[in-house]
């Protein structure tokens, strides 16, 4: 049962909610998320946030899922309803808590950056994504300890050498060794993960302690109060992250470093950040692959500016694609966190 469907739907109707209608919508939503197709969920994110869809037929296809369950659902004047339903689809996909859920939550968090909050319907969906990422960033860095298989539990028939006993004992041993192997593999995987967690922590700590930026080739205390500093420091930090989602307190680690640069009150726009990227592109060694299109605003700005060249043109195209204002100022730490999220998404998934 989709619990937030009733609450989400209220905004799209003046009349009371029909149980039968909700049931049909819920059935369609279950059909959409069952195949775990990320490309469909990405398009849902675009629809939910009011960004242009990459697949021009998506809205019709999306409508088709619901029309199949409810023949009375008319396409005409259903824009808001479809946006609401896309939000519910995203929310339900994240709640499935499968491998792809982190990716989807990350995409939603990233894509909502810079979007006018008054245009977002049902902000709970974004809140859920943030909560999911926070919870997973902690749980991914805490490994459970597995108890090894207890040999004493094996009820081997000792002493009896009859063929039946030997066969039974052999089967028991076979099962036991299979479990042991699986347990061993899990434990090895666990330990590898634990080492990875500790390595990541250690690298971050030593990076802070070292206090030197290799991209700008300066001690952190000597870095200027500029967008280039923000980008260079953030990129270096992002390279240390080996587990997704990024640490929930990435901002706090960055603040330790930025505190030495006097950046506390700085606000940066996407335009300024892109300019910083242009100035540092050779030193950053940033591979501009982007399979997420307009869902990753910073990468989208970097790529569009590089492709188009002329500032007025790329800004116009970028703003139309992402529904984000390049001139809007953000706290430096927020744009840094956004870069970390995009970098993680593009490199991990």
């Amino acid at each position: 049962m989709i619990l937030n469907l009733t609450k989400s739907y209220k905004i799209a109707t003046l009349s009371g909610l029909n149980e039968d209608l909700l049931s049909k919508r819920a059935k369609a939503i279950t059909t959409i998320i069952k195949p775990k197709k990320i490309d469909i969920i990405q398009e849902c994110i675009r629809l939910y946030l009011g960004k242009p869809n990459e697949n021009s037929e998506f809205i019709e296809e999306f409508y088709g899922f619901f029309h199949k369950e409810d023949g009375m659902f008319l396409r005409e004047d259903s824009e808001l309803e479809l946006r609401i339903l896309s939000g519910v689809v995203i929310s339900e996909f994240i709640k499935k808590d499968i491998f792809e859920s982190i990716q989807v939550a990350l995409i939603l968090k990233i894509a909502s950056f810079g979007i006018d909050s008054s245009t977002i319907i049902n902000n709970d969906v974004i809140n859920e994504a943030h909560q999911y990422l926070l919870d997973n960033s902690i749980s991914e860095r805490e490994s459970d300890v597995h108890d090894p298989v207890d040999l004493k539990t094996l009820a081997l028939k000792e002493g009896d050498t009859s063929p039946e006993s030997v066969s039974a004992n052999f089967s028991l041993l076979q099962g036991f060794f299979k479990s042991l192997q699986k347990s061993h593999e899990n434990e090895v995987s666990n330990l590898k993960h634990k080492i990875q967690v500790l390595q990541e922590e250690s690298d971050i700590h030593w990076w802070i302690f070292r206090g030197f930026n290799s991209i700008l080739e300066k001690p952190v205390g000597e870095l200027d109060n500029t967008s280039e500093t923000v980008l260079a420091v953030t990129k270096e930090f992002a390279d240390l992250i080996t587990i997704s989602p990024p640490p929930n307190n990435s901002k706090d680690f960055l603040k330790i470093v930025f505190h030495k640069t006097g950046l506390e009150d700085k606000k940066i726009s996407i335009l300024e950040f892109e300019s910083a990227f242009k100035n540092l592109s050779e030193k950053l060694n940033l591979h501009l692959k982007n399979t997420y299109g307009n869902l990753v605003p910073l990468y989208s700005a970097f790529i569009t500016a590089k492709e188009i060249g002329t500032e007025a043109a790329w800004i116009s195209i970028f703003e139309a694609k992402t529904k984000t204002n390049v001139q809007e100022k953000f706290e430096y730490i927020d744009i840094a966190e956004q870069f970390i999220a995009e970098y993680t998404l593009v490199n991990f998934y």
Binding site: K10, I11, A12, T13, L14, S15, G16, P52, E76, D77, S78, E79, L80, E81, D116, S117, S118, I120, I121, N122, N123, D124, I126, N127, H130, Q131, L134, D135, S137, I138, S139, R141, E142, E201, I204, P247, N248, N249, K251, D252, F253, K255, I256, H259, E307, I308, G309, T310, A312, A313, W314, I315, S316, I317, A320, K321
Partner: protein, 356 residues
């Protein structure tokens, strides 16, 4: 790689479309290269299945063509419940319920608002951005105009019956892309009179569940008349209490208590006495409901009759509330449960930068 197929268009270098279109609506612009089949060069002569008629059929119909041909436009009269419901499904709307006893000034307030938008370039830093019910507004405001040949402006009483709705779209003066669709109920005072006496009627009032704003009109002229003020208070607050007690008005609905015809209150005799009475009303409502509901009190003069008051006094405060608050606009800052952080076994996850 982006491209524009329109000859002579320099959108890729200047950002400006030669046809003046936005790139997300321009049919010639694409940010992905597509292999389009050039029909003129297709070798149809060698195609055994080809005939002249098929070529016509094969040309993809202009997708926008049928949308341009047939566009349903509302005739301008009041929206029925179904019309309003349909509209609410298509775009974000703010439902504003205008409640109160008969002749409290519910309809007049909205007509005055329309009038202000008509005579001023902007009002409350907003501009008029359209209405589906302009004809209805015109019909309703006829009795207030010179053409009606009346000595004093009036507003016709709203008839009892099925609920109708009025629509007004406003946009920010400084950013016309930020607009708000307001849907006002056009419900007779008699309907509210019956609501306050019946819990079942209140439960059936489903609009209350959805309302972004519930605006309760209290006639200040009646409140400043000794023989009528107690009943006016009881009737008005009765409507509010009944709807809240029946669970119809949820805490997400913003409530405005409007003291209408305030000019008549201000110019009455024994004003001090009546002011104390008014203060008691405000205290009573606040005591009972302010912990659960967001309540504002507004003194309104939709159409001044006495004193030196400006037309539509108080409407600016009201309309600003309607535009800035929605039942569904959650506090956009995130509300995260951070218990997992504090319960984490790892100091790394619990670290917080505190520059003190």
């Amino acid at each position: 790689m982006a491209e524009c197929k329109e000859e002579g268009c320099s959108v890729l270098t200047t950002g400006k479309c030669i046809n003046g279109l936005e790139i997300d609506v321009c049919p010639h612009y694409s940010d992905q290269y597509e292999n389009n089949v050039d029909l003129e060069e297709s070798n149809t002569d060698n195609d055994p299945d080809f005939n002249g008629e098929d070529a016509v059929d094969d040309i993809a119909p202009d997708k926008n063509h049928s949308e341009i041909r047939y566009k349903e436009i509302h005739r301008g009269t009041a929206l029925s419940f179904d019309d309003a419901n349909k509209f609410a499904k298509s775009t974000q709307t703010r439902l504003v319920i205008l409640a109160g006893m008969p002749n409290a000034g519910k309809t007049t307030s909205i007509l005055s608002l329309l009038h202000l938008f008509a005579i001023k370039p902007s009002f409350a830093k907003l501009i008029f951005a359209g209405s589906k019910t302009l004809l209805d507004f015109e019909e309703k405001s006829h009795l207030s105009k010179i053409d009606s040949e009346r000595i004093e402006p009036e507003t016709a009483r709203t008839l009892s019956g099925a609920s109708n709705f009025m629509h007004l779209k406003v946009a920010m003066k400084d950013d016309v892309n930020k607009s708000t669709d307001l849907i006002f109920t056009d419900i007779s005072g008699e309907t509210f009179d019956s609501l306050k006496n019946s819990t079942q009627e209140c439960r059936n009032f489903i609009l209350g569940n959805r309302a972004d704003h519930f605006v309760l009109f209290l006639d200040s002229q009646m409140l400043s008349t000794m023989s009528k003020r107690a009943a006016t208070k009881a009737d008005g607050i009765g409507i509010l209490n009944s709807l809240i007690d029946a669970g119809t008005l949820s805490p997400h609905t913003h409530i405005q208590i409007v003291f209408s015809k305030w000019d008549l209150f201000e110019t009455t005799k024994n004003k001090d006495n009546h002011e104390q009475f008014l203060e008691n009303i405000i205290n009573e409502i606040n005591t009972k409901h302010s912990t659960k509901y967001n309540i504002a009190f507004v003194k309104l003069i939709s159409r001044p009759k006495k004193g030196d008051f400006e037309f539509g006094h108080g409407l600016e405060d009201l309309v600003k509330l309607w535009v800035s608050h929605s039942a569904f606009s959650t506090n956009q800052s995130l509300k995260l449960d951070k218990s997992k952080i504090s319960n984490s076994r790892r100091q790394f996850s619990r670290f917080e930068f505190n520059n003190k």
